[in-house]
């Protein structure tokens, strides 16, 4: 297809593991020049005729060195041996070159995730990444992720490059990512590549596995609360494959057997289905298909026959065409994407019935290019266009014979971005990456919206917008800069600046993530969120890459942050813009990360010292207040010890300053009445609040341990299995889930109460594959 010089030849490098599964994104060094294989483990390069040294490496595999002599076009296959008994390096890195320690970036593979202790044995990538510095969880039962002071809606969570609007099951108790379906998790908490945008704080990218191209395989697991099954295999041998993974919780079924009376007709379960298929058209062209569907199904009836049913979940689908040209120097991918989240719910309360539905859906097309003419230069450019459709809600409410019907107008928006990023080596020690993303957002009709006055109050008027008519339009340049200076072959100093814009806000007033939370687009009143972050870091590898040390400091400035007025109605409120308050925020801190990457004992220590504040004119008398998840100290210690081929042990210890909480400053009695015959007074006693987040919960700390037993695999038998034994919260720490003042009106008594979720909690799971 392309002319090749007579002195050069084209070499296709295929990297796979011992079971012939491609090792995607492996690092390949050719004569000291580093590059990455694609997701199918392939790399096409032009060689001069003669001898060359190729070294391939990947997370979780021993690196492989090959000395070859090439005289004509050829294919080189490299098989990497998996490090079965070693905790994989957190960062994709090999060799001594410390510049590969990327700033504000972590990558974990599924092998590593599966060996760490987790609650109820459910491998959860969103829970595990909170063990890394600068990334915090909302608490024991929340998978809300708070990255460097940002909110949970400020993370771009991608499943195979497709945004996921609600990554949670059961209010954040579990994430939607099935551990059996995923391959790796990458987190970028700053220093964002210009290809990414639309969220302020981070990019959390979860990649799923491709199917085995050689033979059919089945794997699965039986856990305490859920079971999983995956089937994969070739569609066309060595050319096309598929994988389908499913997971379902069955605690509802178990409860029906063991606690039938207590459970009654109540039940809750969720399921996830992941499906991938790939087709290699030729050595330069490939098609990838991704599908996900997950639902939570909840039903609840109490002794008063109050009934609550709710179903909610995500559906995503994407088709990507990947192409490489100029012998692998030029690559491009085109993706067409659909993603949606929807909720259907019904609540029956005595004489009243409530039906509530809401949804958000996107159609997206994007095109990304990469040109890497040499090790000195690298260019990325591309565009993306998203058509958003928001269905904030429709409700049908019946009280007795009265019916209230409400439908909030749908909203539509176009979001687009173009970007260009270039990375170039200025000198032997100095490398710079500059990028510019230019984003555009346009909320359009058809809709009918409330007209507000200059103070943001509704005027009583409404205005109609035709289909496609512009309602509000925003556009911003988002510059990105990254500087990397090598002090030596083992240590670097890096500096980055990132500006990000977010055009969608999540309407939520609680600490948990509700399925009824609504995404609200930027409009005439609602301004897009803006963040600027500067970070500087020192990175050092020692003892032949056995140890890695990172120190990063950051400062983040946040604008147009959203809170809702006290008592704001988020559901079925046409005037939701009028309920919002806009403020500022700032976050700064220092993150330390020390990792031991080799030997029988591996692991890391992560520590963050940070402060996060918000400031709103209408809140806290205009004074700054701590963000709910401001955590002064945050410590994680992760250790893994390989005893032998059969036994592996791991342990996690976490410690964090307690969350900030708004607690009452006083109590008032109101709605007073007098019962003359009983000579008593009746009233309602209520808490009063003045300052925001004026109280700290006790510190959170916990120790978990895990043992994995892998029985010896019989020779020539495909079947293998492993047992996983977890103990969560080993020393039974009672970490508060929430605290409250219990006012007993009839006994006229008052008592502080604390609710904690997980005492010491053991779990066992069994995994198999054949």
């Amino acid at each position: 297809m392309y002319a090749v010089n007579a002195q050069t030849v084209s070499v296709s490098i295929h990297i796979s593991n011992s079971i012939q599964t491609p090792v995607g994104n492996a690092t390949v060094e050719i004569d000291g020049r580093r590059m990455l294989a694609d997701s199918s483990g392939k790399l096409l390069q032009v060689f001069t005729k003669g001898n060359h040294l190729i070294e391939a490496s990947a997370v979780g595999y021993y690196s492989r060195l090959l000395n070859i002599t090439v005289l004509s076009d050829t294919t080189v296959s490299l098989m990497l041996i998996q490090k079965e008994n070693e905790l994989r390096n957190v960062v994709v890195t090999a060799g001594k070159n410390n510049s590969k320690n990327e700033m504000s970036f972590y990558s974990l593979d599924i092998g590593q995730l599966k060996k760490l202790p987790v609650i109820l044995g459910e491998t959860d990538p969103l829970k595990t990444i909170t063990l890394l510095p600068g990334i915090k969880s909302g608490g024991e039962a929340g998978s809300g992720i708070y990255v460097r002071g940002g909110g949970p809606d400020q993370n771009l969570i991608l499943l195979d490059d497709i945004p996921v609007y609600n990554p949670n099951h059961l209010l954040g108790f579990f994430s939607v990512f099935n551990g059996d379906a995923i391959k790796s998790v990458n987190v970028r908490k700053g220093d964002m590549n210009a290809a990414y945008g639309g969220r302020l704080s981070s990019v959390i990218s979860i990649d799923t596995r491709e199917g085995d191209k050689d033979s059919m395989k089945v794997s699965g697991g039986i856990g305490l609360i859920s079971s999983k099954l995956s089937i994969e295999g070739p569609i066309v041998k060595n050319k096309s494959s598929f994988i389908i993974s499913g997971r379902r919780t069955y605690i509802d079924q178990v409860a029906k057997v063991f606690a039938k009376k207590k459970m009654g007709n109540n039940g809750y379960y969720f399921y996830d289905i992941n499906a991938n298929a790939d087709y290699e058209i030729n050595k330069n062209n490939k098609l990838l298909f991704t599908f996900y569907n997950g639902k939570d199904k909840f039903s609840y009836t109490n002794d008063k026959n109050n009934l609550f049913n709710a179903n909610w979940g995500n559906t995503i689908a994407g088709l990507t065409w990947k192409q490489q040209m100029l012998h692998g120097k030029l690559k491009q991918s085109v993706s067409m994407i659909y993603n949606a989240f929807d909720l259907d719910s019904y609540y029956g309360y005595d004489l009243s019935d409530y039906i509530f539905t809401s949804a958000v859906s996107d159609y997206q097309v994007k095109n990304d290019w990469n040109y890497s003419p040499s090790a000195k230069f690298n260019f990325n450019w591309g565009f993306q266009y998203i058509w958003h459709r928001f269905k904030p809600g429709a409700g049908d409410i019946t009280k007795g014979t009265q019916e209230f019907k409400t439908k909030i107008n749908n909203q539509f928006a176009r979001e687009a971005a173009v970007y260009l990023s270039s990375s170039f080596r200025i000198s032997r020690r100095f490398r710079a990456t500059t990028g510019l993303r230019y984003s555009y957002f346009n909320q359009v009709g058809p809709t009918e919206r409330i007209v507000y006055d200059n103070d943001g109050n509704p005027t009583g008027e409404t205005e109609l917008y035709k289909k496609g008519e512009s309602i509000a339009r925003y556009q911003y340049p988002e510059p990105r800069l990254h500087l990397d200076y090598s002090l030596s072959s083992l240590s670097n100093i890096k500096l980055s600046y990132t500006k990000t814009i977010q055009y969608l806000h999540l309407a939520t007033t609680s600490g948990a993530t509700f399925p009824s939370d609504i995404w609200i687009p930027a409009g005439q009143i609602v301004q897009p969120g803006i963040a600027q972050q500067i970070s500087i870091g020192y990175f050092r590898n020692t003892r032949n890459n056995m140890y890695r040390l990172n120190v990063e400091a950051y400062y983040k400035d946040l604008n147009n942050q959203v809170e809702f007025k006290q008592g704001a109605q988020l559901l079925l409120n046409q005037n939701i813009e009028g309920e919002m308050m806009f403020g500022k925020g700032k976050a700064y801190g220092i993150e330390l990360y020390a990792e031991k990457k080799k030997g029988k004992l591996t692991g890391w220590v992560g520590y963050t010292l940070s402060k996060t504040q918000r400031k709103y004119a209408e809140m806290n008398n205009g004074k700054p207040f701590p963000y709910r998840y401001d955590r002064t100290h945050d410590l994680s210690v992760v250790a893994n010890y390989t005893l032998n081929r059969q036994w592996n042990f791991s342990s996690v210890f976490v410690f964090g300053t307690g969350n900030a909480l708004t607690m009452p400053t006083g109590r008032v009695n109101y709605n007073v009445g007098f019962n003359v015959s009983q000579r008593t007074a009746s009233f309602t006693s209520m808490n009063q609040y003045e300052e925001i987040n004026n109280y700290r919960l006790p510190a959170y700390h916990r120790l978990d341990i895990c043992a994995t037993y892998t029985p010896k695999q019989k020779r020539k038998k495909r079947f293998s299995s492993s047992w996983n034994f977890n103990i969560y919260n080993v020393y039974n720490r009672q970490n508060p889930y929430f605290i409250y003042m219990d006012i007993n009106q009839s006994e006229k008594s008052l008592q502080g109460k604390m609710v904690y979720l997980f005492p010491i909690t053991p779990a066992v799971g069994w995994n198999f594959k054949f």
Binding site: G400, A512, G567, N669, Y740
Partner: protein, 325 residues
């Protein structure tokens, strides 16, 4: 434009489409929190929270209504520290409490008729021991000349002035025109767990054609026949009705309370301004604001002054009576 229309115009700005979904949120919160705890074997224990002490607030509960002169009163109390285990109220005595009537003028200012200002005095309720009923201020004419006692007039404005411990407090409320109750009906009959026959009452009325109408509902029946005060009446403040989605409709609101067969029920429907609606809406939220899934909510104060909370509620009442069949 008459006073009452102006009042509507001034105090009920715009239909803000605040459909009440408190029940829904509560259902979600309760059900899911319950499931959490059930699934995770969650536990609860007593906990010394250790809250900071703050200066007490003056708490004002004041009413002016068109129907029941005895129920035009002001109750003053002090707030307590959040961790004080003593739940009883701390009455505020020896306050100067005045209510004046006013009219809205063409230039949107209110002229107060200071000559007709009523000074409310501390009252001891008959048969209620002193101490329990301290801090209640009523019109003394209720004892001496009930026919001339303070009574709210629809379309007028009312000014509440309080002086206590050297501080002055004020609040204003309009009194709207009552919305007539068309009729009451009984339905949804059932047999309760104790075997008694009960039924529900439905109130039927025509919502005015103007948007932004809000109602509170109270009722008196056998259980609270010998009681005093709005807080002792049966109340459906929870079902604060807004006409956001049903403007101008003929309304049929069924009360979920079960009334015993043969019981005589007097139903009060209070048409209230937006500020009063907002306050009682916040009251409902404040009394239920705890737990991780809710936002802390305080009362939306309508009283002017230093370190004070409460509401001056102007209730334009219409009433009807029915016997449960």
């Amino acid at each position: 434009m008459n006073d009452s229309t102006k009042a509507l115009h001034l105090y009920q700005p715009v239909n803000q489409n605040k459909q009440k979904h408190w029940f829904y949120h509560r259902a979600v919160n309760m059900a899911m929190t319950g499931t959490f705890l059930l699934f995770s074997a969650g536990c609860e224990k007593n906990f010394d929270i250790g809250l900071a002490h703050t200066e007490p607030q003056l708490v004002v509960e004041a009413y002016i209504n068109t129907e029941i002169p005895e129920y035009n009163y002001v109750i003053l109390s002090k707030s307590q520290t959040a961790e004080n285990t003593e739940i009883t109220s701390i009455p505020v005595k020896n306050a100067l409490v005045k209510i004046s009537e006013g009219s809205l003028m063409q230039n949107n200012t209110i002229t107060w008729d200071k000559n007709a200002t009523v000074i409310l005095k501390e009252t001891t309720l008959p048969d209620v021991p002193a101490g329990i009923s301290d801090g209640i201020y009523t019109d003394p004419k209720l004892q001496t000349d009930p026919a001339q006692a303070l009574r709210g007039i629809p379309g007028k404005y009312y000014l509440l002035e309080i002086e206590v411990d050297g501080e002055a407090y004020t609040a204003v409320t309009p009194l709207l025109y009552p919305i007539p109750i068309d009729h009451l009906s009984t339905d949804y009959h059932y047999t309760d767990k104790d075997g008694s026959s009960k039924g529900r009452v439905t109130v039927h009325f025509k919502d005015p054609d103007t948007t932004g109408n809000y109602q509170l509902f109270y009722w008196r029946h056998s259980d609270n026949q010998k009681s005093f005060g709005w807080g002792s009446l049966g109340t459906s403040k929870r079902i604060i009705n807004s006409d956001e989605n049903n403007n101008g409709s003929y309304m049929h609101l069924t009360n979920s309370y079960g009334f015993v067969r043969g019981d005589s029920i007097t139903y009060y429907m209070a048409n209230v301004p937006r500020s009063v609606y907002n306050f009682w809406d916040s009251y409902n939220k404040a009394r239920n604001s705890s737990g991780p899934l809710s936002t802390p909510a305080s009362l939306l104060n309508t009283i002017n002054g230093k370190n004070v909370t409460g509401c001056f509620s102007g209730l334009a009442i219409s009433s009807a009576t029915i016997v449960m069949d």
